[in-house]
Amino acid sequence: MAALLKPFKSDKPIPASFYPLLLLTLIGVGLSIYRLVVGLGPTTNMTDHYPWGVWISIDLFLIPVAGAAFTISLITYFFGRQHYEAVIRPAVVAGFLGYAIVGILLFLDIGRWPQFYNIFNPQFINLHSFLEEVSLCITLYTVILILEVAPIFLEKWNVRVPIEWIHRSIYLIAGAGIVLSMLHQSSLGSLFLLMPHKLHPLWWSPALPLMFLLQSIVAGLATAAIAVNLIWRVRGLKMDRELFRRIGQAMGLVLALYAAVKLGDTMGAGELDMLLMPDTLGVIAWLEIILGVLIPAGILYSRLVGHSAGPFWAGVFILIGTLINRLVVSWIGLAEPTLTPYFPSWIEIMITVGLGAGGFLAYGVVVRYFNPFPEGGRSRA
C-alpha cells in the first residue's frame, strides 16, 4: 500500500499492492451490477425489521471522515493559516473520493434506483425532509469538490484557463463547500430526530445535529492529520511539526466542545445512570467515551501534541470513536432486542470492500501520477 503513495517515476514498476486492490475493486463492481439486476432481497441481509444495513453505516462514517476537505478549506482559505496549504490538496482529493464512494453506495442502497433522479425533481422535493436536504447538499458539494480537485489534473494536462477561473473564485467555491458541509453534516444527525422511539436513548438527542456537526470537524481534522503524516512519511519528507501541533490543538478544542455538549445532554436528560448498566450498549458507550474522547484528549492536551505522532494517534482514536458512534446510531442502537440481530451478507461486505479498495487505488494513482502537493512535493518546513 505504502508504495502507492510514492511519487511517480516512469522507470519504476507498478507496486505489487496495485493488483490485489484492482482485483477487489473488480469483484465489487461485478457484485454491484449483480445487486442492481436481481434486487436487494437476494443479495443483502436487510429485512423489514432492519431496513438499513451496513452501507448506511459506512455512509454515516465516511461523510465525517471526508469532512477533512471542508475543515482544512475553512482553516486555509478563511482563517488564512498558510501552514495548512500543504494539506489542502491531499485533503480535498480524499474528500472527493469519500463522497464518490458515498454516492455509489447510496445508489446501490436505494431499492428503486431507476428513478433515483426523483430527488432532483422540483415537483417532488419535500422541503421538510432532512433526507432530501442531505441528498441535495451531498450532490452539490460533490460538484464543489470536483472544482477544487480539477486543478490537479488540469495542471498536468496543461489547461491553464479554467485553473485561473477556479483560482479567482476559490473563496466563493470553498465558502459554498463549507456552508454545504455544515448543512449536511448536521442534517445527517437530524435524520434521527424522527426516530426517538427507535434509537437507544444514550445516543438519541434533540442536539444530534449539533453533535454530528462537531464530530465531523473533529473527524475531518483527524483524517487530515493521519493522511498528511502517512504521505510525508512514505515520501521521506521532513515533518512540519508546527503544522501538526496546530492541527492537534484545533482537534483538541473541538473535541472538548463535543464532549461538553454530549455530557450536558446526557446529564440534562437524566441518563447518566444508563452508563452504569452492564448491558451491551452500556459497554459500547464506554468504549466510545474512552477510545474516542478520553485517550485522544489525553494526547492532545499533553506535550505529545507537539510531536507529529501525537496528533496522528489522537486522530486514529478519534476515527475509531466516530466509527463506533456511527455504527451504533445507524445499526446497533436501532436493533430490536427480541429479534436476531442484522449482520451484512457476504455480498454487502464484498461490495463495501471493493469500493474501499477502489478508493485507495484512485488515491494512489492521483498521488503517483499527478501532483497533489502545491510545491512540487517539497515540504514547506
Binding site: 431496513p51 493559516r81 473563496y171
Partner: protein, 287 residues
C-alpha cells in the same frame, strides 16, 4: 422512558439550546394539510369485541389482490405472522397466562405522519380526507419511512427487483367511490367500524363512559403522537398490544422545528461568519 415531549423538554432545557425548540406541543391541532383532523376518515377498533376471525385480513386481500401467506399445520391456511409487503392488515394475539387480547394491525394513518415528513420525494402524502397515500412513481426506495414510522407499518417488497413500499391504504380507492374500508365493512362483530374521525372519538368516549371497568381508560390514537386516524379501545394496556407510549406531540414536530432553526441559521449565518472570519484574518495579517 418518559414520554417523548417531556424528554425533549428536559434535554433541550438542560442544554440551553434556545427557546424556539421549546414551543409547546399542540396535539391534534395542526395537520400538514391544514384540515380539521376530526373530518378525516378513520377507523375504531375495540379489542374487547374482536373474536379474531380474520375476516378483515381476507377482505383486505380480496380488495387489494394481495397474495396469501400460508403457514401453520400443512401450510394450508393463510397465516401471516406480521405485516409484510403482501399483508397490509392482520389480527395478532397477545396472551399472558389467562389474559389475552386480539389486536388488529394496519397503517394508523397518523394526523401528522412521520413518514410523510421524512419522505424526500413526497411519495407518501397525507390526503385531505385522511388516508396516508403512497405513489410508487415517486418513491426511490430509501426506506426512511420504515424507520420513522413509530408503529413499524411500512413494509418493503424485498424479493422484487424494483420493490415498492407497501401498507394499508385505508381503502382510499373505495372511499372515493363512497364505500367504507373493506376490513371494517366485513367485520361481523362490530369490533371494527369506520367513519368520520370526530364521530369515532365521540363513540369511543361514550363506550368508555358507559362501561369504565371494561377498558383501560383511554382511546389510543385520540391524542397519541398528535393523533391517529385509526384508534383503539382495549382491556389490556396498549403497550402489550404493540401500541407504544409516544406522548402527544406529533413525531415530526421536533424535526421540523429543528429544520426551521438550523437551516436558515446555517444558510444565512454561515456565509456571514465566513466573510467576517476572512475580513478579520486579513486585517490581523494571518494570511
Amino acid at each position: 422512558m418518559p414520554s417523548i415531549s417531556r424528554r425533549d423538554f428536559i434535554k433541550v432545557a438542560g442544554l440551553g439550546i434556545g427557546g424556539a425548540l421549546l414551543a409547546p406541543a399542540t396535539a391534534s391541532a395542526a395537520t400538514p394539510t391544514g384540515d380539521d383532523p376530526n373530518n378525516y376518515i378513520g377507523m375504531l377498533y375495540d379489542a374487547t369485541m374482536c373474536v379474531g376471525c380474520n375476516a378483515c385480513t381476507n377482505a383486505c386481500r380480496q380488495w387489494n389482490s394481495t397474495t396469501a401467506e400460508p403457514g401453520g399445520e400443512g401450510g394450508i391456511y393463510d397465516a401471516p405472522r406480521e405485516l409484510s409487503g403482501d399483508t397490509w392488515t392482520l389480527i395478532q394475539l397477545y396472551r399472558e397466562e389467562e389474559n389475552y387480547s386480539f389486536v388488529k394491525r394496519q397503517c394508523m394513518h397518523c394526523v401528522d405522519p412521520a413518514c410523510v415528513s421524512g419522505c424526500p420525494v413526497q411519495a407518501l402524502q397525507k390526503s385531505s380526507t385522511g388516508p396516508v397515500t403512497y405513489d410508487a412513481g415517486r418513491c426511490i426506495g430509501c426506506r426512511y419511512c420504515m424507520y420513522t414510522c413509530p408503529f413499524d407499518v411500512p413494509r418493503f417488497e424485498w424479493e422484487e427487483v424494483i420493490p415498492k413500499v407497501q401498507k394499508c391504504t385505508l381503502c382510499n380507492d373505495r372511499l372515493e367511490k363512497g364505500l367504507g374500508t373493506a376490513c371494517a365493512e366485513i367485520c361481523p362483530t362490530g369490533a371494527l367500524v369506520w367513519g368520520r374521525r370526530g364521530d369515532l372519538i365521540a363513540e369511543a368516549e361514550s363506550r368508555l363512559a358507559a362501561e369504565p371497568d371494561r377498558y383501560v381508560g383511554k382511546v389510543y390514537g385520540k391524542d397519541d403522537a398528535g393523533g391517529t386516524s385509526v384508534m383503539y379501545l382495549s382491556a389490556t394496556p396498549f403497550e402489550n398490544l404493540g401500541l407504544p407510549s409516544l406522548g402527544n406531540e406529533p413525531i415530526p414536530a421536533l424535526s421540523e422545528r429543528s429544520a426551521n432553526i438550523f437551516l436558515p441559521t446555517i444558510l444565512i449565518g454561515g456565509p456571514l461568519l465566513l466573510a467576517s472570519i476572512r475580513a478579520i484574518s486579513k486585517r490581523e495579517g494571518w494570511a
